[in-house]
Symmetry: C2
Subunit: 131 residues, 2 copies
Amino acid sequence: MSKVPTEARQFYDPHVFLCQNQRPADHPRGCCRDKGSQEMHAYMKSRAKELGIKNTRINQSGCLERCEMGPTMVVYPEGVWYTYRTKEDIEEILQSHMIGGKVVTRLQLENTDKFPKDREARLAASKTAAE
Amino acid sequence: MSKVPTEARQFYDPHVFLCQNQRPADHPRGCCRDKGSQEMHAYMKSRAKELGIKNTRINQSGCLERCEMGPTMVVYPEGVWYTYRTKEDIEEILQSHMIGGKVVTRLQLENTDKFPKDREARLAASKTAAE
């Protein structure tokens, strides 16, 4: 909807938001907090510093509303979304995306990925197409 | 630093983050929470819905680290930052930026605005230049 052009020089580039929403344990949608988002946020923040990545910020955010695909993060200004689980996933996002400028497709969420099954079907189809 | 191109179709467009960080009352930098960010977040979220703005999300975030200029928000993918105080400020950002596609310059934070005095000097200089 917005027609505002992207700022040539971003204040943070990239600016990363990791969902930290906590829901009751029996909530059917689940939540990122129950899937390790707090520990992974702390890890990503300290590891980005350790790697000397400048001009970035690894932020916590409220619910990003992609709970079923969680834990999720979004990287701006590019608007690339990821799901992640482990420190290795975080490391790959830091090294490939943030340092190397290359999207980590194995962790990327497409706009159409609403449930894990959507993503699995999409990845399986792209694997078949590549064979 | 990132060289990843911006996604042609963003999942949320625009995606707005309002800093909600709370610091101790005597902290020298102050914090957005003590300047009304919680009430303004709730207002902006419900007002965006009321105005029928589609495909957006008005998120809470952790500390955006521009405390002295707070309360602050950032609008992505464009990467435009604002300071705000009142419901009228929020309304103008919704109407002008999010519906009209026009940046609200009177509330915008430039990258060089670290303290309110930087912003005041900049606005005064641009006013003088326009006369």
